[in-house]
């Protein structure tokens, strides 16, 4: 009720407050007349008119926070009170085996599923969970279901347990394995393998971040490594979801606003303010994990401290340096760990992806970004201030600021600032050129960035004709431009830029023949230009460039016999020419294959664990296995095939997300399987094909480019078909052929410009004709005949300018006609072996 007194007090207060302090009391007493209470009330209020608005607002908000927290604690308390209910026998269609654990949200059971038959981890909400809790529980399920990554425990299913208070549940992958640190210790892993594991965890975390999920409790105990050696993150129970606007919703309901594992929690996490936490909180934990895996020591040993002392230590203790434990960790590894565990999130790696990339740079013996000087740091600050939501945005922001900084610098004509501008430009160009660029930035963003820096690159290069760095940046810039144009389908522009880039490299190499960087990039430029020429059907020029690259690589390896990059270039130059000569000059091809193998051996002697070495060795073993089959030396073929597969598995463990390495693994499976088919060990072959399909499909998460997926599927189909053919199981073969033809159709739609895809389709159709003949189904065979003719017509229409394509299509027609007329034995057509050579 509002009484008159209150209203009068309010107006009197306002009037008095407008007066100078010393006049107020007299004024109030006068205005109140005889109402003594009113006067005292207003005067009392005037005495309390002191606090700043901020203080009161702050207190109000603190009170609000207390209430909210109390509410959460209440929820957790009521859950504990009911925690002793017996384990159910069934939840939905899952049979419960035993309880695995419990948390604030609910309980986790090990359960069994019939179809498909497997063990699962089933997380069910408490019966007392409020509607809000349930909503959040489901939100977690939905968010986690979006995470599909080999490094994250998968969500299979989610549902509502109707028999028991409609409690929501989530069904997840059940992982048996050792915690990350125990695994590394048990396997006695070396430093590189340990860092490779951390890089893999970074991939998984980056995947979650891209889908708007922050883990917040990354610690070795939450990362299990199974028998396959792949680390998998579990327990996103305290994860936070970021909605589209970046606003976060907390999933944790453990009653604490502070959830996590002390010792892995970032300073901002310890401050208890969820608003300060973003993806970089996970970066911090990853840095701590890297430290512990490298040194075998705790980053922050809190075991002897009381909880409060531990908190204080975590907030204030100086950041530990790996080299303080082991001096041999000085340098890059120190830099990486320190950069990841910076107290100020603004100074950390901006993302888990950036950390993972840097670890891989170290694994690949490349300079790590954590040690790069200021322009990048400045740019990172900028990017972080603007909190671009996507990695692409960060890259763009990075580039643009560096460009802006550079422009300012460039206006000063001192020599020093030329160096600064060059550094800045180099940072941009290198980023756009990096193999990650296509993942991180869209084509348009890359093009925009190039357009911004283009005039400056040209101006600086023109002004410093004798400066190696300025010229090389221009060559790199042109190379990036060529890639972007090529990706856009603008072949003439791509070729022009590539040609110009190569011309610059040639000039530089003439002046600085001993500069490894220039030689390496020049060789690459030759090959890339050659590839472009190939797509224009200028085969002679292409071959000339490949030969020139080989000569360059041979010369460079003589100058720098220990340089892995140059050796790798030489390896692939040999292999490339080997492939070119394969059909017409088999002897030269064979000799080149052996030269290549010798180079791979040298690489193994110099740096056995480097990815370049492994890649060359996989390819080398694969190629030699192929040659051995041709010579009927099956034992050697099998041994080499197995070796290729083994190396490929090691390589993929280092970097499962690399498209390149995925292709290598697929090829290695093919190499291991082919000798088995040739010797008739068909059951073994079948088994290995199955294994290959599973591991490849598993590795190919949704991040993989769909084309890549199709190409790898094709490879698997080829192997299955070869096994079925060898078995002479015509019915099975027919089913496989139908599936393969459907795949071929999709491949032709996805890669309309590729003749090999059309060739494969033709081969499959012709093989289908044979199979139908064996099954004695002549009418359908006639249909296939018509399909071959149609396919040949379509191909000739599509490749009207290519004599080769027209010749091939004529050939298919002829084979089909002969088959129909019975002039060819039915097994006369064999699909040509196809081994995509996808180096570089």
């Amino acid at each position: 009720m509002i009484d008159d007194g209150a209203a009068r007090a309010e107006s009197l207060f306002a009037a008095a407050r407008a007066l100078p302090g010393e006049q107020r009391e007299a004024f109030v007493r006068r205005e109140a007349g005889g109402d003594h209470d009113l006067a005292e009330e207003v005067l009392s209020l005037l005495r309390h008119d002191t606090p700043t608005e901020d203080l009161l607002a702050l207190q109000a908000r603190a009170a609000a926070a207390d209430l909210v927290r109390a509410d959460e604690q209440g929820a957790s308390r009521s859950i504990h009170a009911h925690a002793d209910e017996p384990a159910p026998t069934h939840i939905g269609r899952y049979r419960v085996i035993r309880e695995l654990g419990r948390g604030g949200f609910g309980r986790v059971f090990l359960a069994e599923q019939d179809e498909p038959h497997r063990q699962v981890a089933l997380k069910v909400a408490h019966a007392q969970a409020s509607p809000t809790d349930r909503r959040r529980f489901r939100a977690e399920g939905v968010a986690l279901a979006r995470l599909q990554h080999p490094g994250i425990a998968r969500v299979y299913d989610a549902g509502v347990w109707h028999e028991c208070a409609d409690r929501p549940y989530i069904v997840m992958e059940y992982i048996e394995g050792l915690p990350l640190d125990d695994y590394a210790a048990a396997q006695n892993l070396g430093r590189r393998r340990r860092m490779a594991l951390v890089a893999q965890v970074c991939d998984a975390v980056a995947h979650a971040h891209r889908r708007g999920v922050i883990h917040r409790d990354l610690a070795p105990k939450n990362i299990l490594v199974g028998e396959d050696g792949i680390p998998r993150i579990l327990d996103f129970g305290v994860a936070r979801l970021l909605n589209a606007g970046g606003a976060a919703v907390t999933l944790a309901r453990d009653g604490a606003s502070l959830v996590g594992t002390l010792g892995y929690m970032s300073p901002e996490q310890l401050s208890g303010d969820p608003l300060l936490m973003d993806t970089r909180t996970d970066v911090y934990a990853l840095g701590v994990i890297a430290f512990e895996l490298l040194t075998g020591r705790r980053f922050l040993d809190v075991s002897t401290l009381s909880l409060t002392a531990a908190l204080e230590a975590a907030r204030t203790a100086p950041t530990a340096r790996p080299s303080s434990v082991d001096r041999s960790l000085r340098g890059d590894l120190d830099a990486i760990v320190l950069h990841a565990t910076e107290r100020d999130p603004e100074r950390r790696y901006p993302s888990a992806n950036a950390l993972g990339t840097d670890i891989r740079r170290w694994l690949h013996d490349e300079p790590v970004s954590a040690r790069k000087p200021s322009p990048l740091y400045r740019a990172r600050k900028f990017a972080l201030r603007h909190r671009a939501a996507t990695a692409a945005g960060v890259i763009l922001a990075l580039g643009l600021t560096v460009a802006a900084g550079y422009t300012l610098d460039a206006r000063r004509s001192e020599r020093q600032s030329l160096a600064a501008s060059l550094n800045a430009l180099e940072a941009i160009v290198t980023r756009i050129l990096s193999p990650l660029a296509s993942k991180l930035g869209s084509l348009d963003e890359r093009a925009e960035l190039l357009a911004i820096i283009g005039p400056d690159v040209e101006r600086i290069a023109a002004g410093s004709p004798d400066n190696l760095m300025a010229q090389r940046i221009r060559a790199r810039y042109l190379s990036a431009l060529s890639d972007v144009e090529d990706d856009r389908g603008a072949l003439p522009a791509a070729m022009a830029a590539r040609e110009e880039s190569l011309a610059v490299y040639r000039r530089l190499l003439a002046t600085w023949p001993n500069d490894i960087e220039t030689a390496h990039e020049c060789s690459l430029a030759m090959v890339r230009y050659g590839n472009l020429l190939a797509s224009e059907n200028r085969a002679d020029e292409m071959r000339a460039l490949y030969e020139e690259a080989l000569a360059l690589d041979e010369d460079q390896v003589r100058r720098h016999p220990e340089d892995l990059r140059l050796l790798s270039n030489l390896y692939w130059s040999y292999r490339r020419l080997d492939e070119l000569h394969r059909s017409r000059e088999p002897e030269r091809s064979r000799a080149l294959a052996h030269h290549a193998a010798a180079v791979a051996d040298r690489m193994s002697a110099i740096a056995p664990g480097a990815w370049r070495t492994m890649e060359a060795n996989i390819e080398s073993d694969r190629r030699l296995s192929e040659l051995a089959i041709a010579d009927a030396r099956y034992d050697e073929a099998e041994r080499r095939g197995r070796a290729a597969l083994q190396t490929a598995h090691r390589l993929i463990a280092m970097d499962p997300m690399s498209r390149h390495i995925q292709s290598r693994l697929a090829l290695a499976y093919s190499a291991a399987i082919k000798p088995l088919i040739a010797t008739g060990a068909l059951d073994d072959a079948d088994q290995l094909v199955d294994e290959g399909s599973v591991s490849l499909r598993f590795i190919m998460s949704d991040e993989v480019d769909p084309t890549q997926r199709l190409v790898i599927e094709r490879m698997l189909f080829e192997l299955r078909l070869a096994v079925a053919e060898e078995r002479e199981d015509h019915a099975a073969l027919l089913r496989l052929l139908d599936d393969a033809i459907a795949l071929a159709q999709r491949l032709m739609e996805t890669l309309p410009g590729e003749l090999p895809q059309r060739e494969w389709t033709a081969g499959l159709l012709l093989a289908r004709m044979d199979t139908l003949a064996c099954l004695d189904r002549p009418v359908e065979r006639l249909t296939d005949f018509a399909r071959v003719l149609e396919h040949a017509d379509a191909t000739q229409a599509l490749f009207a300018n290519s004599p080769r394509a027209i010749g091939r299509a004529d050939n298919w027609r002829e084979i089909a006609v002969r088959k129909l007329e019975g002039r060819l034995p039915d097994d006369a057509f064999r699909r040509a072996p196809s081994t995509p050579l996808t180096s570089r």
Partner: protein, 186 residues
């Protein structure tokens, strides 16, 4: 009132509402964050879930003109106050219930920092009592504290003048401070 079955909304209205909610969310979040002076107070206020709850209730609000930013903010501030009072009641009920009190890392942090604290229930009570004395004053407090509205915006939301709103706010502020300082509650 609340038992009316929900009517389907036209698409425009849904879009307006979503826009308004986004605006409120963003604003409340920013306020909750930006107004903390952690160095001075040594204490962190966590209002995220409060904001969240408020926005959820705001979404269920019917008959609100979502194209009017000021009214949406005022409604949000109002709801926030109600959410708090609900929580305070719930907490008082819990105080009577048996069971251990969960000690969290956060509470320890809070206790250790030794900053001035206001009992949450007391604050909610104070706000309720203020509403009895000066309903408009209580509203201005909420609009100012929860939605950080300007006096000009508050005047529009209340169909009043800026000077009038300022007077009400100052009165409410003094009244609240006195009550929270343990002074006479009258």
């Amino acid at each position: 009132m609340t038992s009316n079955p929900p009517q389907p909304e036209p698409a425009d209205a849904v879009a307006d509402r979503n826009r308004a909610i986004e605006l409120v969310y963003e604003r409340l979040e920013r306020i909750a964050h930006s107004r903390l002076d952690r160095d001075a107070m040594g204490r962190v206020v966590q209002t995220r879930s409060l904001v969240h709850e408020t926005v959820m209730r705001l979404q269920q609000q019917r008959g609100l003109d979502y194209t009017d930013e000021v009214r949406v903010l005022a409604a949000a501030a109002n709801i926030m106050g109600r959410v708090l009072i609900d929580l305070a009641r719930k907490r008082q009920a819990q105080k009577r219930a048996p069971g251990e009190v969960a000690v969290t890392l956060h509470t320890i942090h809070l206790i250790e920092s030794g900053s001035p604290t206001v009992d949450a229930v007391e604050f909610a009570d104070a706000l309720g009592a203020l509403a009895a004395v000066s309903p408009i004053g209580a509203q201005t407090i909420q609009m100012r504290f929860w939605a950080e509205m300007s006096f000009e915006q508050m005047a529009r939301a209340l169909n009043s003048t800026e000077a009038e709103v300022r007077d009400r706010f100052n009165f409410a502020k003094a009244w609240l401070s006195r009550r929270l300082a343990g002074g006479d509650a009258r």
